[in-house]
Symmetry: C2
């Protein structure tokens, strides 16, 4: 690509757009907080868990993301006087005035969080975040935390699926900002699709804030803004290795004639404006020449113009980069374009034409990427926008935030819809690996239980199977969550986008192929310990 | 609903989340700007148009939204020194240093915009925004403007469709923040779904910033946080019309026994925690009692508990509000619940039970709303989250931003894909109405053409039909766009959410029913003038 920032590991910075004001939450958090406060229960110690019930996109896994944003939100959690005055106008008029004083003094200094690492592979029903602290405060955090995790994890998982569909070699560029669900949606998408496995973004702010490599050259509007070679200015270029400036218009015209002859193209059908646009861009950025070639007609105008300008650049020792295709059948066009490059290379003895790249950008979806991988093509970089950033096939992840313990007592929602029931109690989560290091099972235990030991068999109850008992002997055991926030302080270094990307890719790499199949994956086992199983039975019977 | 802010017409304020930094754009805007600058074309006067090619959701119309955000973005458009220093690190190393000085000095003082009003009904292919000014500057605005209009218009249109599906009477509440595509997506959704026809939002920040009525009471976690009546504190309530505080626990227990007897419910199956939660909330907010009743079982526990607490409130002269159902078949449950309310009203002689409301919130989609409208039900308020805010059936609107004139000369993109071609030249847009005031056709003319006159026949060319000519005699003619930004200044009052909502509803009201059918609408005619038709033909022949 024309312009790529170095893959530096930038320190993540909270952006203007990512500062989440604590008032960005549902009103009922305040009515509930008031009711707790009124009943003097607001400082009871409570534990909430954040999890989702199904992997998105009918997939076999997900990536967890959004943690850094959650931590910055928690650190800064404090209502402004204006927030509280607003609440005074919308809460019922009989709300006790002292409650507003209480709200003004609230912060996260009594809140603790344990969480899965940013970018880790995770599965449905596994609690990803555990938030504990005073009942009213941790209740007030619900909506914002859900909002920060849901989309980040969704779009990160989507990107990982695009990467699996594309295979490891194709370079993937995110370019969805204009179609994203708002400016912040666009910025979040750029950040988390990079973590999910994309290589580049078009989004300049994401480059600055998160150190993601950025890329881009020209749009159709640039091409159509030119109508004649007279608009080219300056008209000369100094060869790469020095010397007198060379007049490019006659040189390019000469090359155009030779190219048209070679390709059997009609010189009359070549758009002078397109030639002028390409030439002008090449003079501005002679080392970064990669135009979009379908503003008029690829075959009749865009491709001959590109070849003429690129051959002139080569004559001046510059290496043109390639072309972008933005419409039509990308595979077949890439073959045709590549064939023309080879013809030129051979006919004009320009080996530089062998290493030109082809960028394809035309409503690419996960499905079209999978198809592209199966078909002959010569595409080197694929740009993806809408389907990636808006997650067309499932535009939301259904993370929920459920109370599991209060005042030291386990709590459980026993819905008539069994899928909506929750698992009670404060927990520890373990990932059990087999001898080859592949994840075999995630095991949910009560936090007071001893951790499973490697090499020792244990009985557990896989979720989703009624009364099933499974015995397993893990070769390795890892604890899935870490303490990341305690007493108002962030306890871990905020992971850079680059580091999270590495973690995500390593994490996906470790999965068995059958768990990461894009269609019809085998479901990964998530189980609960015998202790949790009994606790659930007790509560269902009304004994707890 | 429990808590509703007044429908005041608040002055819109730019929120933290809505400040769009100008670096939130695609990198290629800068490489193009540089190429224009290098060719000394950056100050050429250029005109861009923003439009979409298809109405979303296979619908017959759209609502235009996002204008206020665009205007605030334009007014504040200026790169920071940090932005420019970042660009210096990512643009090719041979970028001339004076270009960065140029970027530092850029603002919108030479930019003008004409636009359709916020909330107006619009149609595919009609240019909604026209942005003119120095070529490099108006090019740099592209991505941010698209990002601000695309999602706002999409979600506003989605809300209008939900409103049409629901009919005029059902109250609609937006509650999608936790499932939105990021925090800003959630805030944008709350704002524009209100404009599209929703009545309420759960989003407190949206209430504060945009004056939207907010609502909400309690979640399941509140209910499950209680396990015993001992947790109820305080345990007394003063009757509405004064008197001694009344002990509520015995009163409610008494009512519960009578309710169970009336309904044939088993007192043993009633969850004491649920009763305690409802009672505690009722004591905190006796005028705003509206609990969620499906934490355990609606029939065995939630509904008897509600009735008991509500009857106790009635005895103390308070008016309970109603219940919320969050799972299962909302229609059939609402009938059952309403039937119980009538039984209680009759049996206990409590007329207040006749006016209890039922709120339904369970993955409501446009389709399920349409079905709900057809079925018997007693639902008064529907809360909608995921499907509304993420626009599940089409999560992005494809607005594009195309160059139509530069240096006084019309420009056109002539793609091999005819759908991707653009209409050249600076334009004026008229809406032609029939004698009843219904929109008949949108007519796109060159700005230099005289406006169509009422009562005078004219010939035009409907888009999407090859070589079709249509004659029309408009009864009324309105100009669809206004000058909203000129020389760096906002030229119109920023419309409040409330005013835009009124405009949207009036605008939809005026449409013929066949244009606003949710499925299989008749397509509305958008036509170009004969002058534009000839200009396109000239350019296609290469004559312009």
């Amino acid at each position: 690509m024309a312009t790529v920032a170095s893959d530096t590991c930038a320190t993540p910075q909270p952006s203007v757009c990512h500062r989440v004001p604590p008032l960005l939450t549902d009103l009922y958090q305040f009515t509930m907080a008031y009711a707790y406060w009124r009943a003097d229960r607001h400082n009871e110690h409570a534990v909430f868990e954040l999890f989702f019930r199904d992997n998105p996109f009918s997939g076999g896994f997900s990536l967890f993301a959004g943690l850094s944003d959650c931590l910055l939100f928690l650190r800064d959690f404090r209502f402004t006087d204006e927030d509280v005055e607003y609440l005074r106008t919308v809460l019922p008029s009989n709300t006790h005035p002292d409650f507003f004083t209480y709200l003004k003094g609230l912060d996260s200094s009594a809140v603790s969080v344990s969480a899965v690492a940013e970018g880790a592979v995770v599965f449905a029903r596994v609690p990803l975040l555990e938030v504990s602290g005073p009942l009213a405060v941790v209740q007030l955090l619900e909506t914002s935390l859900l909002c920060l995790v849901n989309y980040a994890s969704l779009v990160c998982t989507n990107a990982a699926r695009f990467r699996l569909a594309a295979g490891p070699k194709l370079r993937l560029m995110e370019m969805g900002l204009r179609r994203a669900q708002g400016p912040d949606g666009g910025l979040t998408a750029s950040r988390y699709t990079y973590i999910g496995g994309f290589d580049l973004t078009s989004n300049a702010l994401a480059g600055r804030l998160f150190g993601i490599p950025v890329a881009g050259t020209i749009a159709h509007s640039y091409v159509t803004s030119f109508s004649s070679l007279e608009e080219v200015c300056p008209k000369t270029l100094v060869p790469l290795r020095g010397g007198d400036p060379i007049e490019l218009v006659p040189l390019v015209k000469d090359w155009l004639g030779r190219v048209c002859q070679l390709l059997g193209a009609n010189l009359q059908q070549v758009r002078e404006g397109e030639l002028a646009a390409f030439l002008s861009y090449a003079i501005a950025y002679p080392c970064n020449f990669l135009p979009v070639i379908d503003s008029y007609s690829v075959r009749s105008s865009g491709l001959p113009c590109f070849c003429a300008v690129a051959l002139a650049l080569c004559e001046l020792q510059y290496q043109p980069l390639g072309v972008r295709l933005d419409s039509g059948d990308l595979c077949s066009q890439s073959l045709e374009v590549c064939n023309v490059f080879r013809q030129c290379s051979k006919h004009f003895s320009v080996p530089a034409f062998e290493s030109l790249i082809i960028v394809g950008t035309n409503s690419v979806s996960e499905k079209s990427l999978s198809e592209l991988k199966k078909r002959d093509n010569e595409i080197d970089v694929v740009g993806v926008g809408t389907h990636l950033v808006t997650c067309t096939s499932q535009p939301s992840l259904g993370c929920v935030y459920k109370l599991v313990e209060v005042g030291g007592q386990p709590r459980m929602k026993l819905s008539e819809d069994p899928e909506k029931s929750t698992l009670p109690g404060k927990k520890a989560i373990y990932r059990l690996l087999d001898a080859d290091g592949h994840p075999q099972m995630d095991l949910i235990c009560l936090s007071e239980e001893p951790a499973p030991k490697m090499g020792q068999p244990l009985n557990c109850h896989p979720l989703g199977l009624v009364n099933a008992v499974q015995s397993i002997t893990p070769a390795h055991v890892t604890s899935l969550r870490l303490e990341v926030f305690s007493h108002g302080k962030i306890m871990c270094p905020l992971s850079s986008a680059y580091a999270s990307r590495i973690h995500a890719q390593t994490s996906i790499q470790a999965l068995y192929a059958h768990h990461k199949k894009l269609e019809g994956p085998e479901s990964y086992t998530v189980a609960v310990s015998e202790r949790i199983h009994s606790l659930v039975s007790d509560i269902r019977r009304g004994n707890s």
